[in-house]
C-alpha cells in the first residue's frame, strides 16, 4: 500500500484526530487517561518498528532491546546520580542510539531469519543481564525511580500526545521522502537498488539510528511516566509481540497504521482483561484474521475508502 498524502488525507487523519485527542482529557476518567498515555508511548514504539519492518524490510524481533536500553539507562542514571530527569532521558536516548548502531552491524551482514534471530537474542540477553544484576536493576520486580516527568495526569497526557505527534510527523516525513523510497527499493530488491547507485548501507544505518532514537526516547519517557522501570513493560518478549501485532493490525508501512494498531491493542487489552489468560489469545486471533483477510490493516481499509 502506498500512502497518498493529499491535503484532505492529512486533514482527515491528522488534524481532526489530534484535535479530538486534545479535548479527550475533559471527558475521560483518570484511569482511562493513564491507559491512553501508555498507548501514545506505545504508538512510538510501533512506528519505530514499522520504519524498519515496513520500509527497510527487516524483521526485527528486538525492538525492546532498544527500548529497554534507553529506559534502563535513563532509570539507572536517575537512581544512582543526582542528574535532572531531562539529562537522564537524553543519556538514555544516546545509549539507545549507540545500541541501535551496534545492532545494525549484523543487519548489514545477515539476511532475513538470521537477522531476526540476532535481534531476538539481543532481547533475551538484555533480559538475562537485568535479572542477573538484580541488585542494581531491581531484577524482576523493577526499579522505582525518584524522578518523574510531571505530577499531573493531564500534563503527562499532553506531553505524551505532543511527543507522539512530533514523532509521527518526523516518521511520515522520512517515509515519504526519497529516503523512504530508497529503503523500500532496497527491501524489494537490494541488488537492483544498489546497481542504481544507492548506497543501501548508509540508508539502513540511518533507518536504524532513527528507529533507535525514538525507541530509546519513548522508553525513557515511559518509565519516568510510570515511575518504575520493569522488564515486563519495556523488555520482555511479550512486549515485542504486542508491538508486532499493533503494526500488523494497524497496517504496516503507513506510520498512521501503527498508531491505530497501538491504540486498538492497548484499549482492547483493557476491555479484554476480564477474559483472564485468554485475552492474549483473543487479540492474537483478531490480528491473525486481519493478517489473512486484510493484509493492509486498519489504515489500509480506511485509506482505500478515502
Amino acid at each position: 500500500m502506498q500512502l497518498q498524502l493529499s491535503r484532505s488525507t492529512i486533514l482527515k487523519f491528522g488534524l481532526i484526530p489530534i484535535i479530538a485527542f486534545a479535548f479527550l482529557p475533559q471527558f475521560l476518567s483518570l484511569y482511562l487517561l493513564g491507559t491512553l498515555t501508555i498507548a501514545l508511548y506505545f504508538s512510538v514504539f510501533a512506528m519505530s518498528w514499522d520504519l524498519l519492518f515496513g520500509y527497510s524490510g527487516e524483521v526485527n524481533f528486538g525492538p525492546t532491546f532498544l527500548i529497554g536500553v534507553g529506559a534502563y539507562t535513563a532509570a539507572l542514571f536517575n537512581v544512582n546520580t543526582g542528574l535532572p530527569v531531562v539529562i537522564c532521558i537524553i543519556l538514555g536516548t544516546s545509549v539507545a542510539v549507540i545500541a541501535g548502531l551496534l545492532l545494525v552491524a549484523p543487519a548489514l551482514r545477515l539476511r532475513g531469519p538470521y537477522f531476526g534471530l540476532i535481534t531476538l537474542v539481543s532481547v533475551l540477553i538484555l533480559d538475562q543481564v537485568i535479572t542477573i544484576f538484580a541488585q542494581y536493576t531491581g531484577g524482576e520486580i523493577g526499579l522505582s525511580l525518584p524522578g518523574t516527568l510531571a505530577a499531573s495526569n493531564q500534563v503527562n497526557y499532553y506531553l505524551a500526545l505532543v511527543f507522539m505527534v512530533v514523532s509521527a510527523v518526523i516518521f511520515l516525513a522520512i517515509a515519504s521522502s526519497p529516503i523512504g523510497l530508497i529503503l523500500q527499493a532496497g527491501a524489494q530488491d537490494p541488488i537492483a537498488a544498489e546497481s542504481l547507485g544507492f548506497n543501501l548501507t548508509k540508508y539502513k544505518v540511518l533507518a536504524f539510528g532513527v528507529s533507535a532514537f525514538f525507541s530509546g526516547l519513548a522508553g525513557a519517557l515511559l518509565v519516568f511516566y510510570l515511575g518504575t522501570a520493569s522488564v515486563s513493560v519495556v523488555v520482555s518478549i511479550s512486549v515485542v509481540l504486542q508491538i508486532i501485532i499493533a503494526v500488523i493490525i494497524g497496517g504496516r508501512r503507513s506510520i498512521i497504521g501503527p498508531i491505530l494498531g497501538s491504540l486498538f491493542i492497548i484499549l482492547t487489552g483493557q476491555w479484554l482483561q476480564y477474559l483472564g489468560q485468554l485475552d492474549y489469545a483473543v487479540v492474537s486471533l483478531f490480528a491473525l484474521i486481519i493478517l489473512l483477510f486484510f493484509p493492509d490493516g486498519i489504515a489500509g481499509m480506511l485509506l482505500r475508502k478515502a
Binding site: P106, Y114, L117, L120, I132, A187, S284, L288
Partner: protein, 292 residues
C-alpha cells in the same frame, strides 16, 4: 574428573533430546521454506494433551502419548490449511513479503495456542511420568533409566527420519522439494500433496519430541517462547535448511548449557549459548552448514 564425566553424560542426554526437538523445525524450513514460530507451542501442546489424558482419565502411557501426538498432527494441519496455504496463495500480499507474513502469522498462532493451553490446563508446569523407574550407576554417577531411554529414543527417531529421507521414495520427494518447488511441479508432482505429507510428518515428529521433552524438562504454557527460541537458535546455528547442521548444533548448544550449569551457575545456562551464536553468525553468516 567426576564433574567432567557427569557433564559428558548429562550433556549427551539433553543434547539428544534438543536435537529431536529441533529437527522438525529444520525439516519444515528446509523443505517448505516456512519458519514456523509456533514450533514451541506444538511441542507443549502434545505434551500437555498427553499429560491430561494420562492423569485425568488414567489412560495408559502409550495411549496418552498417542493422543498427544495426534493433537500435534491436527494442529499442524490446521496451521497449514487455515493459515500457511491461504497466505501462500493470497494475491493481496506482494511476493517478496510472503515470507514475513507467514512468519508473523505463525507467531500469532503460537500465542493463540499458548493462551488456549494456559486457559484449558492452567499455568502450573506439568511433567510426563517416567517411562520406567530405576537408576543405572556408572562409577559414582547415577542416571535414571528414563533419561537413557529418552536419549536413545530421540536418536532412534532421528535415525528413522534419516532413513526415511534418504532411502525411501517419499523421502526423495521431500529432498526434491527442499531443492526446488518449481522443479518438482515440472516433474508432474502435485505440490499440495507433498505439503500435506510434509506437515503430517512434521506434526508426528513434533508431537513425539514434545512428549519426550516434557518427560525430561517438564512443560508449561509459559515455556512456549523459550522452546521456540531454543529450536530457532539451534537451527540457525546449524544453518537453515540443513538437518545435519541442526543435529550438530544441538550438541553445541546442549553441551554449552550443561557446562555452564555445572561450572558457573544453573541460572546462567542460556547466556553462553547466545554469545556463541552471535559469534558464529558473525564468522559464518549462514550458520555452520547453511544453504540459504
Amino acid at each position: 574428573m567426576q564433574v567432567a564425566f557427569q557433564i559428558l553424560i548429562n550433556g549427551f542426554i539433553i543434547s539428544s533430546i534438543y536435537a529431536l526437538g529441533a529437527v522438525g523445525f529444520s525439516l519444515i524450513f528446509g523443505t517448505a521454506g516456512i519458519l514456523n514460530l509456533a514450533h514451541g507451542a506444538f511441542l507443549v501442546l502434545s505434551a500437555m494433551v498427553a499429560w491430561f489424558f494420562i492423569s485425568a482419565f488414567k489412560l495408559p502411557l502409550a495411549a496418552g502419548i498417542a493422543l498427544g501426538v495426534l493433537s500435534a498432527v491436527i494442529f499442524s494441519y490446521l496451521l497449514f490449511f487455515l493459515v500457511v496455504h491461504p497466505l501462500d496463495r493470497s494475491k493481496k500480499i506482494p511476493k517478496e513479503e510472503k515470507e514475513v507474513f507467514i512468519l508473523t502469522a505463525t507467531l500469532l498462532c503460537s500465542m493463540i495456542i499458548q493462551g488456549l493451553l494456559d486457559y484449558t490446563f492452567g499455568s502450573t508446569p506439568i511433567v510426563i511420568a517416567p517411562f520406567t523407574p530405576g537408576v543405572v550407576r556408572i562409577s559414582n554417577i547415577s542416571i535414571t533409566y528414563n533419561e537413557v531411554i529418552l536419549a536413545l529414543a530421540s536418536l532412534a527417531i532421528i535415525g528413522l527420519l534419516y532413513l526415511l529421507i534418504n532411502r525411501t521414495k517419499t523421502g526423495k520427494l521431500l529432498l526434491a522439494a527442499s531443492m526446488s518447488h518449481t522443479g518438482l511441479a515440472l516433474m508432474g508432482v502435485e505440490l499440495k500433496k507433498v505439503y500435506i505429507l510434509l506437515w503430517g510428518i512434521y506434526g508426528l515428529l513434533t508431537g513425539v519430541s514434545g512428549v519426550l521433552l516434557a518427560s525430561f524438562l517438564g512443560a508449561s504454557a509459559s515455556s512456549v517462547p523459550d522452546l521456540t527460541g531454543l529450536a530457532f537458535s539451534i537451527v540457525v546455528l546449524g544453518g537453515l535448511g540443513s538437518i545435519t547442521g541442526s543435529f550438530f548444533a544441538s550438541y553445541i548448544i546442549g553441551y554449552l548449557g550443561t557446562i555452564t550449569a555445572y561450572l558457573i551457575s544453573p541460572s546462567y545456562t542460556t547466556l553462553p549459548a547466545f554469545f556463541v551464536l552471535i559469534l558464529i553468525l558473525f564468522i559464518k553468516p549462514r550458520g555452520l552448514f547453511g544453504r540459504f
